[in-house]
Amino acid sequence: MRVELENLTKRWGDAIGADGVNLEVDHGEFVAFLGPSGCGKTTTLLMIAGIYKPTAGVIRFDGQVVNKLAPKDRNIGMVFQSYALYPHMNVFQNISYPLKLKKVPQEEMRKRVERVAEMMGIGHLLDRKPAQLSGGQQQRVALGRALVKEPQLLLFDEPLSNLDARLRLSMRSEIKRLQLDLGITSIYVTHDQVEAMTMADRIAVMKDGKVQAYDRPEELYDRPRTLFIAGFIGNPPMNFVDVEVVQVDNTFHARRQGLDLPLPADRGEKAAQDRPVIMGIRPEDVSIADEGIAGEVYVVEPLGRDDLVDVQINGAHLRVLADPALNLRIGDQVKLKINTDKVQFFDPQTELSLLWN
């Protein structure tokens, strides 16, 4: 199913939930709504589900306006953060509830529930009550309940955030796999950018009720259009440094005290302004080298595979991923090499990218 949102807005008095959301989801696509809490992503999802009524704007499923359609008539399945299982029903009753409401005959109902339960690997738990299940099992039941009515659109509201880290990892790939196999159009709300990056075909980054960007994950990562996106996507997050970009002869340089970085011509040209700009550089694009920009180790955070090293350069801080074998200590003097093909520049006033707009 193809989903289109046009100028979708939700207000409660003065409070704004969603503010003019425009986007479309193609058939079979997996889209993530990504943003910090309170950014309007869940509000938007609930409007798509039909739980909230839009204050303004239009929702279309396959070209049909569904604004006035009740949730049950939208042919959707939804998975909630709290799982939202019915505690007084056992797993079988939970999964079969949508079918019971559709008056599906007993025999067929049993078959469909068993098929879904098998698919979710919870076939042996059908007699249990939700309280007797682990978090992961509960989430599988919730997923099963959403899938059993064979919906054309699956909605996920932070389904993994109540699970522990390991389970989250395995459920993540499982959901992705399931979605690919079944080919159901899916919208996935999360505040975890790793989840969004790994699972989604496209990500809508939201802030203050507005969609900041809507694009493929690698695009968002390599070509962030706003400061917010650059900072929000990527882990560990991007470093930001105030610099001035000046042209010396034919080359461009990003400069601040203790730092003078020659830039590639294409980036430098766009970044050259008559005022200071914000330069962004991801930790993995900075390395410790034999020569380069001089700095002093301020903090070292071991991450296991790498050390995240905070290097101070005349008041500016750059976080760098370094080889633990270097065995850096606080106060060590180091030299940094920056991959200037990956640097980003932003206008400090508008917070828009100087490179990609």
Binding site: P71, K72, F80, S82, Y83, Y97, A142
Partner: protein, 299 residues
């Protein structure tokens, strides 16, 4: 308390023990009238006559234990009154439970025009005491009594009418309590049920009501006790023993001042107390909770 011993070390331990005992002593004294009242009921029920708290036989000696006070159990009027009491109490449990859980649900979880107004009316009625309205309700019941068919079920001098009035007077409390229970149910569960295809009524009945069973049980016990004990309203709106409930009947027994058989009255009183005591024993904690949560509101 002796303030001079307050500072002195050696008596400190004794003073402390005394200080801890004092609340127990005071509290025990405070409950004496209640306990004595109940003791008398039990003693009187099973004795020929009582002098003070002591059971006496015909010769004035202590003793005279008997079951003859319970002969009222042969009196059909008592059983009719019991039936009436039961109808009122059960009617209230069902009526208040069903109606206030419907209304509480709508007020707690539905978005509709006029919600604020309905809520304020509920709140005002919750604080309001309806006793003085009995005078006007009397006229309303007379009016209902004039309507064909309905009048003979719910009019003046019918058990149905009494039950209906009592249900209504308990509704503000019931609705407020129920609304509080519904407020605490997860929204996601309800959303899930809506998406699964349930109507709002089915969500209420199949999904939400099972979650508030403990609350409903508490309300049921509370209203049963209210209905079973009801005196003023049945007394005001009924005439004659056909429609009298137990308290009204008991008051008729003890009303004729000269020839009261107090021991029979006590026995009938104990008979009436039996369900209350059973509830009291099995649901103490719940009872304390309703009486605090129920009328407390948010204060």
């Amino acid at each position: 308390m002796d303030t001079t011993t307050f500072e002195t070390e050696p008596t400190y331990g004794l003073r402390r023990v005394l200080g801890q005992l004092i609340p127990y002593v005071l509290l025990t004294i405070s409950i004496l009238p209640i306990v004595i009242g109940y003791v008398w009921i039990f003693v009187a029920t099973f004795s020929l006559r009582t002098e003070g708290l002591l059971p006496k036989d015909a010769n004035g000696n202590i003793g005279g234990w008997t079951l003859q006070n319970w002969t009222f159990l042969n009196d059909p009027a008592v059983w009719r009154a019991t039936l009436n009491s039961l109808i009122i109490a059960v009617g209230m449990v069902v009526g208040v439970g069903a109606i206030s859980s419907l209304t509480g649900y709508a007020l707690s979880r539905m978005n509709f025009t006029g919600r604020k107004g309905f809520l304020s009316i509920t709140l005002i009625l919750h604080a309001f005491r309806p006793e003085m309205l009995l005078i006007a309700i009397f006229q309303v019941l007379l009016f209902i009594g004039g309507i064909p068919v309905i009048g003979s079920l719910f009019g003046f001098n019918t058990v149905g009418g009494v039950a209906l009035v009592m249900i209504t007077l308990d509704l503000p409390l019931g609705v407020w309590l129920m609304k509080g229970f519904f407020d605490n149910i997860s929204w996601d569960m309800e959303r899930a049920a809506l998406i699964d295809g349930a109507s709002r009524f089915r969500v209420w009945w199949e999904i939400i009501i099972p979650q508030i069973k403990p609350g409903l049980a508490a309300l049921a016990i509370f209203t049963f006790i209210t209905g079973w004990n009801a005196y003023l309203i049945p007394f005001t709106f009924t005439v004659g023993s056909k429609v009298a409930n137990l308290p009204v009947l008991l008051n008729q027994f003890s009303g004729d001042t000269s020839l009261v058989s107090w021991n029979r009255v006590a026995a009938l009183g104990l008979f009436q107390l039996i369900p209350i005591i059973i509830f009291f024993i099995f649901t103490q904690e719940m009872l304390l909770n309703i009486y605090s949560g129920g009328t407390k509101g948010g204060a």
